[in-house]
Symmetry: C2
Subunit: 413 residues, 2 copies
């Protein structure tokens, strides 16, 4: 097969049914931003919404905005809105708190399905905050609870009848490898275990169908591919069949059956509201709606097709043009098994990424030696794929990355 040219990629951009979405985002002039898997770009309307929340709803509406601007209901109304994006029913999702805290809540809730069991299956190499949160929960619960760590190939075998729940990240933050959510969930259910999924690197980047997969609980970041803004509260999913049966322990007033009765004692809300805790950071939460609205207008299958094509092309171009420079693919080669990112390994990946930053490509580094390139299909163009591979080639060929200023381990996220 002939290697693609820049003209081929320009042609793909002209034919791209998602092309117009790029105009809805602010992207700094001259920069190629491939960190959308860390923090999505700003939708232009998010600036408007943020001004509205602060300068109208807060300044003018003041505390009345709890009702008149819908602040109090935001976790539920935004959950209802975002639900179809992950194949959930409108009453199964809220937006609230932070990813780690939500994970703590849903694992605690999932453990109530098989209260006699003590093992939680996790992938040790996944984004470590998940391990840390569940380690905190396990230590707090005591009583024999334990995490059984298993890597990708070992997961199926690790799920046996001692397992209370699995807690797995759908797309690996470092390599972009996709787990088979349906198969692992089915395996869990076949031995009576629950299935908790972290969708941080899949929600907004590919079709996710929690109810088709029969998932029990899930959490998903909204500030990566969903472009909700820095630290915007994640979505928390609890399957309707667990409502009123599996409770989370961070029982603040938002999760009470009658929060405005100010009763002394806790009574759980019946539906998804039991998964809430307390008052939410309104500016961050409200602004997230803009990114959600944009995402809901895009066809998820089209997003996935473009994502696979871009990442395929990036692998093809980097291997063809940078193949002599001790770079090796760290992501699955099969696009079906890969999220919307490509990772390459290089012993000196850190310095190379620093040099890429200096040449206006946003991408990032993860120990050891992993160079991550995230392709957010709503605003990244095919020519960006070409230009990134070309910049990488230039940097590798010139050896500029060997300059000492790029090896200083200060400030890369």
């Amino acid at each position: 097969m002939a290697i693609s040219t820049r003209s081929d990629l320009e042609q793909l951009d002209r034919e791209d049914p998602l092309a117009s979405f790029r105009d809805e985002f602010f992207l700094p002039e001259g920069m190629i931003y491939l960190n959308g898997n860390s923090l999505g770009a700003m939708p232009l309307k998010a600036a408007e919404r943020s001004r509205q929340v602060v300068e109208k709803e807060w300044a003018v509406g003041l505390i009345g905005s709890m009702n008149t601007a819908g602040w109090y209901a935001l976790p539920v109304t935004l959950g209802r809105k975002i639900a179809p994006l992950v194949g959930a029913k409108p009453n199964e999702v809220v937006l609230t708190d932070s990813t780690g805290i939500d994970l703590y809540k849903i694992v605690a809730a999932a453990l109530q399905i098989q209260p006699e069991r003590r093992a939680i299956v996790m992938e040790g190499s996944n984004f470590p905050t998940n391990n840390y949160m569940v380690q905190g929960l396990v230590e707090q619960l005591g009583d024999g609870y334990t995490i059984r760590f298993a890597e990708a190939d070992e997961l199926m075998d690790a799920i046996d009848e001692d397992v209370a729940t699995i807690c797995i990240t759908h797309v690996h933050y470092k390599t972009g490898r996709i787990h088979d959510m349906a198969a692992l969930t089915e395996r869990a259910h076949s031995v009576g275990a629950a299935a908790v999924w972290d969708l941080c690197h899949s929600a907004g980047a590919m079709p996710v169908d929690l109810n088709v997969c029969n998932v029990d609980f899930a959490v998903a970041c909204t500030y990566k591919y969903i472009n909700g803004g820095p630290g915007s509260p994640p979505l928390l999913f609890a399957a309707e069949r667990h409502h009123g049966k599996c409770f989370q322990p961070l029982t603040g007033w938002y999760s009470h059956a009658a929060p405005f009765d100010f009763d002394r004692d806790y009574r759980p809300a019946e539906g998804i509201r039991q998964m809430l805790s307390g008052t939410q950071p309104t500016a961050s939460l409200s602004t997230a709606e803009i990114g959600i609205d944009i995402m809901l207008r895009a066809d998820m299958n089209t997003i996935r097709e473009k994502s696979m094509r871009m990442t395929d092309l990036f692998i093809e171009l980097v291997e063809a043009r940078c193949g002599d420079h001790d770079i090796s693919l760290a992501s699955p080669r099969n696009a079906e098994k890969r999220g919307s990112q490509v990772s390459f390994f290089h012993d000196e990946g850190y310095s190379i990424i620093r040099a890429m930053h200096d040449h206006d490509v946003g991408c990032d580094y993860r120990e050891p030696g992993i160079m991550r390139f995230g392709f957010a299909p709503l605003y990244i163009r095919y020519v960006d794929v070409w230009d990134t591979a070309e910049k990488l080639r230039e940097i590798l060929e010139s050896g500029i990355w060997k300059e000492s200023k790029y090896s200083d381990r200060a400030a890369v996220t």
Copy 2:
């Protein structure tokens, strides 16, 4: 003593050393806003800061702002900044998460001081989310943990050698009654119990000296008297002597000893950072700094003097002018024992508050029959005290509150 006149109050405003602070806030024309104890008014500069965070730091700086704009460090840098406001050392405070979740963390941490003890003393009538969160913790811990509820007069006697920790709200949300933090903490320590304090209705409204009182852990809202914006993350205080000894269980990556090493297993950070969990809602957190900065420029003793004088005057004026209308004081009469709010009881308080709203006074209602008026000394004037008492008199005398539109129980917060 002669009853004050409006001219007397105008004179007090002219002499008020805090008067110029009012110009730093946006206050809707023609409205008297006495809900600063629910949501503080917007500092004008908060609008600028919010635009900066969204339209520059997010839009232009993108993920690089984690470092270049200091996003990653915000919980610690803002904690360091706000610490003197509550008599804490700079390394004893972080801004993070929500009040309820922080309370869960610090009570869980406090229980580790006397791990054999099982009782937690709380005031049943305090803001119920505190009860709910601790009830959630107690249920999760099992193993005999229990809450011992006691009301104000019973608290001292309730603190005995079975008590692991007290968890008490400094200023009562409904009546404004102040607890003696020094005496109750001393009592707790005298029997070997820890002392956890909720400062939601005192921080920013009066001098608070956590270290002089020898408090172990505390939480304080930043969106009430500190004017941090809707749902801005609270401050969490952990006394230095407990760092590295009492751990909180929501162990996200922000609380790890080396978060960017991405180790599989949790290792707690040594200092106050162990009290953090995960990624924070940056827009809400960053904007909070403006309110904090303003508060730090104001002298807290002057704030307290003005607060006591305003609330004394309000009681005097309401009793003198509305005394024939079945209203009774529900707050302590002695200003020394009263926070920056005044509550009155009336059987039909709900309808009266609705009518007050309709006449441009922001104040609120709490069951049963409690009408709350909060006086934020940075932007409320003495003439506002007069005008509020006068509006209340007009509404009571006219009987307008009896109109059916005011008794509809829909939308008062």
